[in-house]
């Protein structure tokens, strides 16, 4: 437990503030703890600033802080200032859990924004469930989770693939080679891909998982040359993405006839591999930095003004930004009263916000988010060109691949018969 001196001083100061102001705060009905006190709403910001996933999570931290600053500059929420309490869980799931406890119990945050990896989300879940708090998770992930203490604002497999796979089949052909890193996310995504391919009469000519951090793809490329797929469906993550793209090009494969279709390659990976290695490959995501909406132009401009000219926004930092705005609307709906995590969760349902990607909405059926899937073609300049965009927002279906199970507001239920 990180019940440090600093924490103690902070809570002491908070109590002092209470007494001095004559208790103008709201008491939680359920727990009797002060959730919002002294005209302040405390929220936790839990993204790694050090360790393996620090680069991407730093961009999430920055997007979150920028949203909070914007809210405060515009007068806060219902007259109250949002106070972010930033913790660095150092890319380590155990530290995530520890810091989450500190934010929930020690700082009495009314919500926490955090996590990039599924492992870190799974690590903090017990904390939020035990103390009935609320976690806002911005990353696209594999679905198949249904916690009543999380609002999920990233894409789930049906949102990334429902339009993407049919488009790939139509444009390039029916033979798919599935390649992913060896952990839960790629396997769940590939499950969905296989179901879609079956419906479309497509064929999986190979399915391969490489260890995390793998960088030698000559065997895989050999197999790809042998099986001659129309599409290489990739859920490889991290620096392996860079190695795969470079070795693909060096081996003389051509994206015009056998493109890589990815759910994980963003502007950031492209910057690391060099635009010429990414050009002609495709990614499906609800957001690209090049998205042409007034909201996005402002988002990108503000982000670069706040954090540096060379900064990029990506399909994880955008939800990290808009979910704070959804939180604001939920608290506003409550009128600043009865500010408990469960009440905020209920108020968040059906909230709509004009995000950089388009109008998003929190689905009351499963606390995931309606999003706008897009297909982007990577360009040599490192950006994506959006070539297809969903005509309507797409409902999140975290259990799409598991027809026997349904995510409901009260948690997972098994459907009968």
């Amino acid at each position: 437990m990180s019940s440090t001196r600093r924490t103690f001083l902070k809570s002491a100061a908070a109590v002092g503030g209470l007494a001095g102001a004559g208790f103008p705060h709201i008491w939680s009905k359920t727990s009797g703890l002060a959730w919002a006190a002294g005209g302040e709403i405390k929220v936790g910001v839990l993204y790694s600033l050090t360790g393996t996933t620090a680069i991407i999570e730093t961009s999430l931290n920055q997007a979150t802080l920028m949203a909070i600053e914007e809210i405060n500059a515009a007068g806060g929420i219902a007259g109250m200032k949002v106070v972010p309490i930033v913790e660095d869980p150092a890319s380590d799931p155990a530290t995530f859990s520890q810091k989450a406890k500190k934010l929930v119990i020690g700082d009495k945050c009314v919500s926490v924004f955090g996590s990039y990896t599924s492992a870190s989300r799974k690590a903090v879940l017990p904390v939020f469930e035990k103390y009935d708090n609320l976690y806002w998770y911005p990353t696209l992930y594999e679905g198949r989770e249904c916690s009543k203490n999380v609002i999920y604002t990233g894409a789930v497999p049906n949102q990334q693939q429902k339009d993407f796979v049919p488009w790939l089949v139509k444009t390039f052909g029916k033979k798919f080679y599935l390649i992913g890193s060896n952990y839960i996310y790629p396997k769940e995504e590939n499950n969905v891909c296989k179901i879609l391919l079956k419906q479309l009469g497509g064929e999986v000519v190979g399915e391969e998982y490489v260890p995390l951090g793998h960088s030698e793809f000559s065997t895989v490329i050999g197999k790809i040359k042998d099986t001659k797929p129309n599409v290489i469906f990739s859920t490889v993550v991290g620096d392996s993405v860079v190695a795969l793209h470079r070795q693909y090009k060096a081996a003389g494969l051509n994206p015009a006839t056998m493109p890589m279709a990815s759910l994980t390659t963003s502007e950031e990976e492209i910057a690391a591999m060099g635009g010429e290695f990414a050009a002609g490959h495709f990614t499906s995501a609800p957001y690209f930095m090049s998205t042409d909406t007034p909201e996005n132009h402002k988002f990108v401009e503000d982000f670069q003004k706040r954090w540096g000219k060379d900064k990029t926004t990506n399909f994880v930092s955008e939800p990290a930004y808009f979910q704070v705005k959804l939180f604001k609307q939920a608290v506003e709906k409550l009128g600043g009263k009865d500010l408990t995590p469960p009440a905020i969760r209920k108020a968040a349902w059906n909230q709509e916000y004009k995000a950089p990607e388009g109008l998003v909405k929190v689905d009351p059926d499963n606390s995931h988010t309606y999003l706008w899937p897009k297909i982007g073609e990577a360009q040599a300049n490192g950006q994506f060109k959006v070539i297809e965009q969903s005509k309507e927002w797409v409902k999140p279906l975290p259990y799409w691949a598991y027809p026997g199970q349904l995510c409901t507001p009260d948690g997972l239920v098994e459907k009968k018969g």
Binding site: P211, S218, G222, D239, K249, A251, G252, G274
Partner: protein
Amino acid sequence: MSTVISQISVGLSIASILLLVSLGLAIIYGTMGVINLAHGEFVMLGAYSVWFLQSLFGLNLITCLPIVFVLVGVVGLLIEWLLIRHLYTRPLDTILATWGVGVILQQAIRLSAGAELRYVKMPDFLTNPVHIGFYEESAYRIFIFFIAFSLLVITYLLIFHTEYGMRLRAITQNREIARCFGINAGRIYALTFAYGAGLAGIAGALVSPLKSVAPDMGTNYVVDAFLVVVMGGVQSLLGTIASSYLIGQASGVLGFLTNDTMAKAIVFLGVVVLIRLFPQGLFTMRVNRG
């Protein structure tokens, strides 16, 4: 038939990278008995040096190679002088010391160059594949193969056909007696360590356009390099070649038959069994280290 050819070339390609990465380690481990766990970080430094030279001066990768060799070699020399030379009588302690050096180098790069993945450009004339009959192979991988082979030949000549090499071999056999004959063991060791580090630097420079450049990239390479060196027998160049070739082909074939995750596990298992049966590695020279 074409599958067989492509398998052999995949294996050769993996083997040449293994050879490249493990050559420096083999020299340092084999002749000096220093278990250099910072070897992966020398590889990483090589990759970062190219990135640095390219982004600052726009140099071509091939022009960078000699510069990188010298740069990383000097780092090696410095580390040898500051740390390693005090530990020649305590070979086991070098494990901890070099591991510490590795951590420091990794964090130093993380703090100075940043943690993000870096981009190294491949020479233009090597980006496209070449056609050998009906078979197509990456020009860059062929280039790596030839560089690895040339470095091997150079190293062989250095050790077996120069005076420096003769002295090094003398010290390897018996340091005290070699010193009695007037050989400056300290200087020879320092040069050898620098040479091994420089080779690792070149390896890092060469793999960087094909793979990715990150502060923690060395970790994977040091494991591969130790695998090769231990299996080949620590004091044998021939062993290093043979075991890179065997591991490369085995990874290729097993990866083809199963998948890369399985292949890695089976190769590890195979090496463990081999070491159990041949504790000295496949090729050994009977020498008496003083």
